[in-house]
């Protein structure tokens, strides 16, 4: 796991400032979506060998939620973006 995380707002910070929530799940379904879709969203998570996208919270810093893309095998972090961009697409 990375020792330093490049927060898009704060720069390179030690990993102890962050809290990992786990894999970026499927987008939150509409209220009317089928139960199976909700089930996926709430419960099902992958544990891949290789590229993985995770929610990281900069809890000891700017308190923004981030999406960190990392390789579970090589520990390389390829991208860290503000999690709001998942939905808005733009810069946070």
């Amino acid at each position: 796991m990375s020792s330093l995380v490049k927060c898009p707002h704060c720069g390179l910070r030690p990993k102890e400032e962050f809290t990992v929530r786990g894999e970026v799940a499927t987008p939150r379904p509409d209220a009317g979506a089928e139960e199976a879709v909700w089930f996926d969203h709430v419960y099902l998570r992958d544990n891949p060998r290789g590229e993985h996208r995770e929610y990281w919270h900069h809890s000891g810093g700017c308190r923004r939620w981030l999406v960190l893309s990392r390789n579970t095998l090589t520990h390389e972090t390829s991208e860290v973006v503000d999690a709001s961009t998942l939905k808005t697409g733009g810069a946070a």
């Binding site: 020792s3 709430v42 308190r63 999690a83 709001s84 939905k87």
Partner: protein, 991 residues
């Protein structure tokens, strides 16, 4: 006679005599000595007993890899077990003791284990001592543990303190031998920010042991020049006594600096750390960790007096200590011959050089007798070596009398830090060793770790490595010019691997610390454990505190030899942090005792203390739990009085620890509407509302009140336990789920001192300090707004909410005013009989009222389970948890649901956690109906009461049940009832 002091020694100061004791015996050495060099100078070669067979063991090395000479140093809280004598600096008054021997190191009863050798071979714990099975735990294991083992930790607290720090640099140079020094000098001169770290007490590494001049100049003078220049460079930070012990991702390195471990008690500065744990972030790294000399595996190779050739040279040149009077050298490489040369130069007789090689590259210019193509097959001597048996190439044996034997089986680059991030070292036939992996991102190995030989070649390699690293940083630099460095061919050795001596007589040790012999490794192979990772675990080779620094490569060589393959095909085991053991003190740092974790104190902590509060730790908080008065000796005396006073008069309670979150934004109402399961869209300004927050899986997460203080401004309270969790959850909702909503969140928990004023007289008390109309009409139940206090001198936030069930208010004032406002309320309430009450009384009153806390909100309950199913909005399209809350299993009427519970006989008591059974059912969890979540003695009702989650609870009020305490094995008859024991009609709330 074994070792003794001779002239010379670049590291020691003969004017600085230091007294120390070894196993109670008074000895002395000099400033600059290690405990090992001082022991050798005093002729003490036998320093400990081996782990398993209790064989006599001496000092093998002069550095970090030492497997044998582990001592317990110091006393009481400053006692450090398993300290390597080769790394411990001698100070005046030092006390050192041998380990793993009884009654003493010279006469050790455990040595009888040697006779049990056949039973203690590889994997013995899987094979012997297996029968009868019950004997393992009670007889065999305790006996083995008593006989085997290392030093014992002290039970006394360490009086020293420890700290952790971060450091940042352009270039981190690990190791300050010739290569590291040249690298640091090169980068330092180029202006880069350099940190150079070395585990030794002095910079120099192999230079410290160099007896020959370099470029015509004495080695110590060359070293002094370099170190002097480095000290003068402001951009170079020198860290001596600092072991870089781990390489982590993103170029973060961990190092431990032994700041004061080398000082006597009286010289320790209490304001300085004993050790410092560094995390160093380096843009580039030069790895100059050197190479470890390998032992040779032959019979009796563990006898005291057998020492690594390089270590012998270090003791000779750096400490002025001769290892004996008549020494032999057993080596398979040219570099080791330097030890024989230096011994002869200092007047020590070298009896013979035994070299298994027959190649033409062997040349020795000294006086010693050369025996080529030969091996040492055995040694003799009870507690120190007296002779060696040499097997000549013609099969003839010759016994040679010696009192020390230098051994060198080649050199293993110290590749650990290059492999901590997953890289695998590569075998090199040329260097007869495992080399650092090619792909070492941002790390340049140089010097002996990269296979270079000799001071001059290492100077050149270090300079070149720094130039390369600087180029990566965009800095131009020239390799530092150092004495002796000239253009020329690199020095070449001709190491011929000798993995084991076939003619060996007796036990030939591979791993000295774990007592693993060559025969154990071949046995493991015969039994099918021939994979390097399996062989390691089956034999325990390399698993001791030295992590196999002197043994791993030999074990791999033996495996390879026996399988007929290259050591490269066997491969190494995995290198993991830490490189050498790190003290718990350094890892713990300042986090011990009261500093183990932060302490959170409410703004009213001092006020509560003045009123004699007893405090309870809840998470990091210290909350006032009850306030004993004179004559009250039992906690419940105080709690019952506090409850009775609140129910009849008035009380004040510190509720500052509740989580407080300010919520702003045009979409704040919509946001709240989505995070609470009940409706919040139409909450008017000036009103508070109780809200239940679900998790997305439909279960209750937390509860609390949220007040609308103004247009687009809300103030949320959470439970104390989940203050941080709720804020994090809300941030996730606002930032990830609905970033399109205009909402901003800020934690305000520490900004406000908040007090509950509860009881029939609470309005009368507050009316004296609040400037506004508090009548039921003007400020009804659930009113919430900013109020003027003390004649306009202060503004506070007043909420008419109640956890106790009484007429009650909560008043929040800026934290700094909390203490004075609490005092003012006490003064105002004096005429009404006000008392402070704590969390215990609060808990009793909420149970009496049937209010839930996290004892009930246990992660498996829905709002309906808590009797609040009607609060879940059926009108809202969406909110967190809406869909999952409707799942079949979550709406089953048979789910455990909140009820009150009381004993049938008022004198009976029961315990929280007790299970509920139907009368007549066998006492078993198979017949479980639910359990008691909370209970207390109700002073209002005069008997025990509780809350419980019971199957289909609401329809069972009045039913008789059995309350079963499975831990105590007792049962009590109880009656299920309405959870609101007091004022079920809420008349008091609205009074």
């Amino acid at each position: 006679m074994t070792g003794f002091r001779i002239d010379g020694g670049t590291l020691i100061d003969r004017n600085d005599v230091r007294r120390f004791s070894f196993n109670g015996e008074a000895l002395s050495g000099f400033g600059g000595d290690t405990v090992a060099s001082a022991l050798l100078a005093n002729g003490r070669q036998l320093v400990g007993r081996s782990f398993k067979y209790h064989r006599p063991r001496g000092i093998l090395t002069a550095g970090a890899a030492e497997p044998n000479a582990l001592l317990t140093i110091g006393r009481d809280g400053r006692r450090d077990p398993n300290t390597r004598a080769t790394m411990a600096e001698l100070f005046d008054g030092l006390e050192a003791r041998s380990q793993n021997c009884w009654p003493n190191v010279n006469f050790d009863i455990g040595a009888a284990n040697g006779l049990l050798g056949p039973l203690l071979g590889a994997g013995f714990y899987y094979k012997t001592f297996m029968w009868p099975a019950a004997f393992w735990e009670k007889v065999y294991e305790p006996l083995i543990r008593k006989a085997a083992g290392l030093g014992r930790a002290s039970y006394d607290p360490d009086p020293g303190y420890y700290e952790k720090c971060w450091a940042h640099c352009d270039l981190l140079v690990i190791g300050a031998g010739a290569a590291g020094l040249a690298a640091a000098l090169t980068a330092g001169r180029a202006g880069a920010r350099v940190i150079i770290a070395d585990e030794g007490a002095q910079l120099g590494g192999g230079l410290l042991a160099e007896g020959s001049p370099i470029g015509g100049k004495p080695a110590d003078a060359v070293l002094a020049d370099i170190v002097g220049e480095l000290h003068a460079l402001p951009n170079v930070e020198i860290k001596k006594r600092t072991t870089v012990f781990a390489a982590y991702d993103d170029q973060v390195f961990a190092a431990v600096e032994r700041v004061q471990k080398h000082l006597p008690e009286g010289a320790i500065n209490p304001h300085l750390a004993m050790e410092r744990l560094w995390r160093i972030v380096a843009r580039q790294v030069v790895l100059a960790t050197g190479a470890e000399e390998r032992p040779i595996v032959f019979g009796g190779n563990d006898r005291p007096g057998v020492m690594m050739a390089g270590a012998m040279r270090t003791y000779l040149n750096a400490y002025g200590v001769a290892p004996g009077k008549r020494v032999a050298l057993f080596a398979n490489n040219n570099q080791a011959y330097q030890t024989a040369m230096d011994l002869e130069a200092r007047g020590v007789e070298v009896a013979a050089i035994i070299d298994p090689r027959t190649c033409p590259n062997i040349r020795y210019d000294g006086k010693a007798r050369m025996i080529a193509g030969a091996m040492v097959r055995d040694t003799a001597g009870r507690k120190a070596i007296k002779s060696i048996t040499v097997r000549h190439d013609d099969g003839r044996d010759e016994v040679i009398a010696v009192d020390a034997l230098a051994v060198s089986g080649g050199y293993s680059p110290i590749v650990h830090l290059a492999c901590h991030r997953g890289g695998k070292p590569a075998w090199s036939d040329e260097h007869v060793g495992f080399m650092p992996p090619e792909n070492t991102d941002g790390m340049t190995p140089c010097g002996a770790v990269a296979g270079k030989i000799g001071i001059v070649d290492c100077f050149a390699a270090g300079g070149a490595a720094a130039v390369k690293a600087l180029a990566e940083l965009g800095v131009m630099g020239d390799a530092a010019t150092l004495p002796g460095v000239a253009q020329g061919d690199a020095t070449v050795d001709h190491v011929q691997p000798v993995w084991s001596v076939s003619s060996t007589k007796g036990k030939a040790f591979v791993d000295f610390q774990n007592d693993v012999a060559a025969s154990d490794i071949t046995l493991a192979m015969r039994e099918g454990y021939d994979h390097v990772e399996l062989a390691k675990r089956y034999t325990t080779n390399g698993m001791a505190t030295d992590q196999g620094k002197t043994s791993n490569v030999n074990a791999i060589g033996i495996l390879a030899e026996n399988k007929g393959v290259s050591p490269g095909e066997i491969g190494t085991t995995t290198f993991r942090p830490f490189y050498t053991p790190v003290s718990f003190g350094a890892l713990v740092g300042a986090s011990k005792g009261m500093e183990f974790q932060p302490i959170r104190k409410s703004p009213l902590h001092g006020w509560a203390e003045r009123h004699g509060a007893r405090f309870v730790e809840t998470g990091l908080w210290y909350r006032s739990s009850w306030f004993p008065k004179d004559g009250e000796t039992f906690w419940r005396d105080s709690v019952d009085r506090e409850v009775n006073t609140v129910r009849t008069k008035v009380g004040i309670c510190d509720v500052s620890t509740l989580g407080k979150i300010e919520i702003f934004g045009a979409d704040a109402a919509e946001f709240l509407n989505r995070v609470y399961c009940n409706a919040f869209l139409k909450l008017p300004i000036g009103k508070a509302r109780y809200g239940i927050m679900l998790r997305e899986d439909g279960f209750v997460y937390d509860d609390g009140t949220t007040s609308c203080l103004g247009e687009n401004h809300y103030f949320m309270t959470t439970t104390t336990a989940l203050a941080a969790g709720v804020l994090t959850h809300l941030e996730f909702c606002a930032q990830v789920l609905w970033p399109e909503l205009d909402v901003r969140l800020a934690s305000a928990t520490d900004q406000w001192a908040q007090m509950a004023i509860a009881g029939p007289k609470s309005r009368d008390v507050l009316a004296k300090i609040i400037d506004e109309d508090l009548s039921n009409e003007a400020f009804p139940f659930l009113a919430a707004r900013e109020v003027s206090m003390f004649g306009g001198r202060l503004k506070g936030r007043l909420f008419r909410i109640s956890f106790s069930g009484e007429l009650a208010y909560e008043i929040a004032v800026p934290a700094g005013y909390g203490d004075s406002v609490a005092d003012a309320i006490m003064t105002a309430g004096e005429e009404f009989g006000i008392v402070p009450y704590g969390t215990e009384a609060l808990g009793v009153m909420r149970i009496e009222k049937g209010h839930v806390t996290h004892a009930e909100i246990n992660g498996t309950v829905t709002p309906a389970d808590l009797g609040m199913g009607k609060m879940v909005s059926a009108k809202k399209d969406d909110f967190i948890g809406r869909v999952m809350n409707l799942r079949e299993g979550l709406v089953d009427p048979n789910r455990p649901t909140l009820v009150g519970i009381k004993p049938k006989s008022a004198s009976d008591k029961f315990a929280t956690g007790s299970h509920i059974l139907k009368p007549g059912d066998p006492v078993s969890l198979a017949n479980d109906q639910g359990y008691v979540t909370s209970m207390c003695h109700s002073p209002t009702l005069g008997h025990a009461i509780g809350l419980a989650l019971v199957k289909n609870g609401p329809s069972r009020h009045g039913e008789e049940v059995v309350i079963w305490n499975g831990l105590a094995g007792t049962t009590v008859t109880g009656i299920l009832c309405d959870p609101a024991f007091v004022d079920p009609e809420n008349e008091k709330l609205h009074a």
